[in-house]
């Protein structure tokens, strides 16, 4: 039983979905309760992962490895390291909170709605724990269809457009990624004489740089569309804006992380030479910086509250990719932490839009104003989320952004300089948004009698806030969890990095731990 912890975590949501399908569609309360129970169970069964995780161990833990399709060399191969652990926990918690937040927001086709969320939950967890590329690809694609339906059936006015755009974009990326995967698979056969999709085996490949570059670009398109990196981001504002609140939360908090995770788990370790190729690194950094600044500038211009939050994701994910391609421990660890942070803060921001939308059925910023007078608790939560997103010290965003900037500074000072402007702009659009919606006098009479947060909404926000505070005040455990995998990753991409580091500056301890004490 305990040997199959990852499988249990993986399939609990799916099992919950199958039971859900057997419930009578007419009994809405029962369906709601069951979906929440299943999602909560999904979170609870994932908690032992945290306690059982060994921070000091190298490589993957809680590994499960069985033959799946021997004819193709495909294995059912699961395992986690620090990076996957954090993302899995983010998935199970945010997945549960997203389902909880839908209680009153959704009234149509409830059964299908919750079924889609639970199915998607299994797909996302699978992406983060698969150590077999084929298995990974299957889960990667499994996520697509439920999200199509979530946007397409329960979305806003332009849902059809947004849903098909999301589907086409991501699918175009993933089929090219598939070609990259198959190239590695075939190269492995050429070099070692047997077909396998196992990551650990594919790591033994030694490919010419030209081929590595091609594969890198194939992966890049798949992952960059998912992240989304500039200029592949155009699906994101539509999808995030039109999706129902819980869908936006899942999209922003988890789905986008599949892209960054792909870079960390596959692009860097499998293609180390292409990953430090100066031209590629420069391009990645440039695209990240463009995303940071462009995303922030576009956010400033939005008059739609939800669209603003959506574009802010482009900016924040730019930090994550910049951190990855700084290719040093600070950059990468910061990137992973920032991925979690973005999940927390942007998840909250979308939930906040959702709360306002449920009461007023408009997303236009100019329809609001002065809400702090009628909804004090709500405005407090919003302030909290906004500051966490803007990177206020003592809250989570600061830790991530600071560490990324440290890494970027170490890699190239100009990158850090550009990225800092992104932080300033970020503060600007968030504070201005807050001012326009929450502060001042109530100008619209419809806003005079809005109910404040109810108990369930508090229950959704509190875990987010607690987590944000934890990371903000005491991030050390996170850096500890990440230390081994990140070090391994950097060593893989830049062999001898740590030896040179300690030789040159012996006094300077690991920057990650430094930031941890801040």
């Amino acid at each position: 039983m305990s040997d199959h912890l990852l499988s249990i975590v993986l399939f609990t949501p799916l099992a919950g979905m199958l039971v859900l399908l057997l419930l009578p569609a007419s009994n809405k309360t029962l369906i709601r309760i069951w979906a929440n129970v299943a999602a909560a169970a999904g979170f609870l069964v994932s908690l032992p992962l945290v306690f059982r995780f060994d921070k000091k161990a190298e490589g993957f833990q809680m590994v499960e490895r069985y033959d799946w399709i021997p004819a193709l060399g495909v294995k059912y191969y699961l395992g986690i390291d620090g990076i996957s652990l954090l993302l899995v926990m983010l998935t199970t918690l945010v997945g549960f909170l997203a389902i909880l937040s839908s209680w009153s927001a959704i009234d149509r086709h409830l059964k299908a709605y919750y079924a889609m969320f639970l199915l998607q939950q299994t797909g996302m967890i699978g992406v983060f724990i698969s150590l077999d590329f084929f298995l990974f690809y299957v889960f990667w694609e499994v996520v697509l269809v439920p999200m199509y339906f979530i946007i397409g059936v329960w979305g806003g006015p332009r849902k059809l457009y947004a849903a098909i755009k999301f589907l086409l974009y991501t699918l175009a990326g993933s089929v090219l990624m598939l070609l990259g995967i198959l190239t590695l698979y075939f190269q492995h056969f050429e070099q070692h004489g047997f077909y396998t999709f196992e990551i650990s085996e594919l790591l033994k490949l030694d490919m010419p740089l030209a081929l590595e570059r091609w594969v890198f670009w194939a992966f890049f398109i798949g992952f960059a569309i998912k992240v989304p990196m500039f200029p592949f981001h155009t699906w994101l504002p539509d999808a995030h804006t039109e999706a129902p609140t819980a869908g936006s939360v899942i999209l922003a908090a988890i789905l986008l992380k599949m892209g960054t995770y792909g870079f960390l788990r596959f692009s860097l370790p499998l293609l180390p030479e292409a990953s430090i190729d100066p031209w590629i690194v420069q391009t990645m950094a440039a695209l990240s910086i463009v995303a940071i600044i462009y995303g922030a500038l576009v956010s400033l211009m939005q008059d739609d509250w939800k669209r603003l939050v959506a574009f802010s994701s482009v900016s924040h994910l730019g930090f994550c990719t910049l951190g990855i391609f700084a290719l040093n421990p600070n950059g990468i660890a910061g990137s992973v932490i920032q991925q979690i942070n973005h999940g927390i803060s942007t998840g909250m921001l979308f939930l906040i839009v959702g709360v306002a939308y449920e009461r007023r059925h408009t997303r236009l910023i100019r329809d609001y104003g002065g809400l702090a007078h009628v909804m004090p608790n709500f405005s407090f939560v919003f302030a909290f989320a906004m500051l966490s997103s803007a990177g206020l010290p003592l809250l989570n965003g600061f830790v991530g952004e600071f560490t990324i900037l440290q890494g970027a500074f170490e890699a190239n000072r100009a990158w850090a300089a550009f990225a800092v402007t992104g932080i300033i702009l970020g503060a600007a659009y968030l504070l201005w948004l807050y001012q326009r919606t929450m502060l001042g006098q109530i100008t619209n009479p419809k806003n005079l009698r809005l109910p404040d947060l109810n108990l369930r909404e508090w229950a959704v926000f509190l875990p987010f806030m607690a987590w944000a505070l934890w990371i903000g005040i005491y991030p050390r455990p996170y850096f500890e969890v990440l230390e081994k995998p990140v070090a391994q990753l950097v060593e893989r991409v830049r062999p001898g990095y740590f030896a040179a580091e300690t030789a040159a500056v012996p006094a300077r301890a690991s920057g990650a731990a430094q930031a941890g004490e801040r």
Partner: protein
Amino acid sequence: MSQFYTSTDHFVLVPAIMLALFGCAVLLFDFFLFPEPRQRKRLVWFLIAGEIFTAAALWRQHSFLVSEGLPELTAFQGTLTVDGFSLFFNWIFVAASLLVAIVSWRYLEIEGEHHGEYYGLILLAQCGMYFLATGTDLITLFLGVELMALCFYVMVGFLRERKRSNEAAMKYLLLGAFSSGLMVYGFSVMYGLAGSTKLRAVAAAIASREPWDPVVFLATATTAVGILFKVSAAPFHMWAPDAYEGAPTTVTAFLAVGSKAASFAFLMRIFLGPLETVREAWEPLLIVVAVLSLTIGNLAAITQSNVKRLLAYSSISHAGYILLGLIAGNATGLKGMAVYILVYAFMTLGAFLVVVALRRENLIGEEVDDMAGLMQRSPGYAVLMLIFLLSLAGIPPTAGFIGKYYIFLALLETGHYVLAALAALYVAVAIYYYFRIVRSMFISEPVEAPPLASTFGLRVALAVTGVLTLVIGVYPEPFLMLAQTSLIR
């Protein structure tokens, strides 16, 4: 001169005898035993019995090959060859005929054209298919293709009162006859080169010549065009959308699956047999055909509002994918063709069966809009259709992905990177039109419509195709082993 009709000859011929015998028997029984229209649906039991006997004969062939450890068994001095390849395809034909036959009676009754010949024609068409998969002689192959095509000409025009059906049959007949003419011309040139109609002799004659020898090229080109007509690859696809749309839907399903699979068996026998040595001459030609099929099939499907027509264009694009396996030409590619044809058979049949269910009294139900809100009216059918469409698009974990997987891998292995990228990107195009149907079923508001014409046979057939489409996607191992046996040695 060897003995005329040996026991081996008989052993190889038994499945064809069974098919022909039961096919004729159905015609007679229809005339003598069941004069009443209501009784005709009992004829399906005769068809099932015929298929059981055929399957038993095929199984005996299979066990014989396995127990003797033989790669193949030839009969009639090399005219027919039973091998893993022929058996693999024949299993597909048996499955396709059975699945089509058990859903037909209700559909044909609604159309007012439920006649006993229908079942006889299915069996006789399958008899033609048997010779296409088993034949290793130009004449045998030609007879097989003509027998199959003649049955289909009749079946496509089965709705005698309908203009559309008549038009479809006429177009199919004219273009089919034209393509057969071209093909048989190519055969005659091959015969001229070899002085024999046996594929082995033709192969030897062609191998002794230069690949760009004008006579060989003439034979290759005309034969190729003839066969490509049959598999409905662009630019020889013009008949397909009309024939698919006009034919009774059950016939469309059989045409799209049985005829396509048989024609591909035929194509592989010719291209991997006599024409293998002149690969450099036909490979560029096939690349053009495959790319055109992908392009025309996928792009034209986008604008279709009729589901049958849409699936017709999609089947043109699938022909393109299967041809890519032949272009790659290595073991992965050939195995990929077999796997692709297998999964194509079940997912395409499934999709057409859903369309069959949509035909009700006073409602044709073939338009994309007719599916509006199907999820609320008949969730089972909607979910099954979703599975078939995802599989057609090639999304894991459905069967279609396994087929595409092999094709992509084979292209990468043989260095066709551009083709691989193109083929992969067309998946994203395809998802667009498949998801038009999905959107209609799941997102559009339901329209007022009578309940679906569901029969026990239809439910069985849908369950079989749906389960196989999922099982091949999730656990393909046994099916890949089966496809492995199909490689021509």
